[in-house]
């Protein structure tokens, strides 16, 4: 795969919608995925680690 040679990449995120059905979000830019459970988990872990390191608590 070589994007500079015109190869295209699409990123898909699978999630359950409000009807509990499996849905997908598709973007050509990874950072634009808003339903990214993996990235969100890292973000939550990071927040928790900062709070632990600084001994502060947030909701």
């Amino acid at each position: 795969m070589d994007k500079s040679q015109g190869d295209h990449v699409l990123y898909h995120a699978l999630f359950r919608d409000k009807n509990d059905e499996i849905a997908k979000q598709t973007m050509d830019n990874y950072k634009m995925l808003s339903k990214n459970a993996i990235a969100q988990t890292y973000s939550d872990l990071y927040d928790a680690e900062l709070e632990r390191s600084l001994d502060v608590a947030h909701d």
Partner: protein, 171 residues
């Protein structure tokens, strides 16, 4: 040194309203010809000193954000951050007004949307080892808290008005 509430580094303005004292530590006026590395700000609170280092590759017109990402991915950035902390700690602990009963917090604010939280966590662990903040030969852990945080987290922990991007206006 004198008490100032607001201090500026690059495109970011910090409000140290709740500090007892805050000043620009990275100052030739203060350090003269010394080659010691320096964090940008030192702020004093009732229970701690906060050493603050600012990296702002997201500032509008930043010289070379790509080069910064390369530096982040190599060991160079963490080595530099560790050196700044150690030299600042050395300087500050020898100052007449230093209170050794206060803990020290080393806050690295890294404003770079392109860096994922997972990578920030990895670099924070690397920084702990490089400084280091604990060692098997020590009888107790160094009384230091050390974190690497982005702009969102800085505001989340220290308050929405604790820092603002100058180019976005609205104090």
């Amino acid at each position: 040194m004198w008490l100032m509430t607001k201090l500026i580094e690059l495109d970011l303005e910090f409000d140290f309203e709740t500090a007892n004292n805050a000043f620009q530590f990275d100052s030739d006026e203060l350090h003269g010809a010394s080659t010691a590395k320096r964090v940008d700000f030192v702020a004093e609170y009732d229970d701690c000193y906060r050493f603050i280092e600012v990296k702002d590759p997201d500032q509008p017109g930043a010289a070379n954000p790509t080069a910064f990402i390369r530096k982040f991915n190599s060991e160079n950035l963490v080595n530099s951050l560790a050196g700044k902390f150690r030299d600042t700690l050395f300087f500050r602990t020898l100052c007449a007004d230093h209170d050794s009963d206060k803990r020290i917090e080393y806050i690295v604010l890294l404003s770079c949307e392109a860096i994922e939280p997972a990578m920030m966590l990895v670099k924070q662990d690397n920084l702990h080892r490089k400084i280091p903040i604990q060692h098997t030969e020590w009888k107790s852990n160094c009384a230091v808290r050390c974190v690497l945080m982005n702009l969102r987290q800085y505001k989340r922990i220290y308050g929405e008005s604790s820092v603002r991007r100058i180019s976005e206006g609205a104090a």
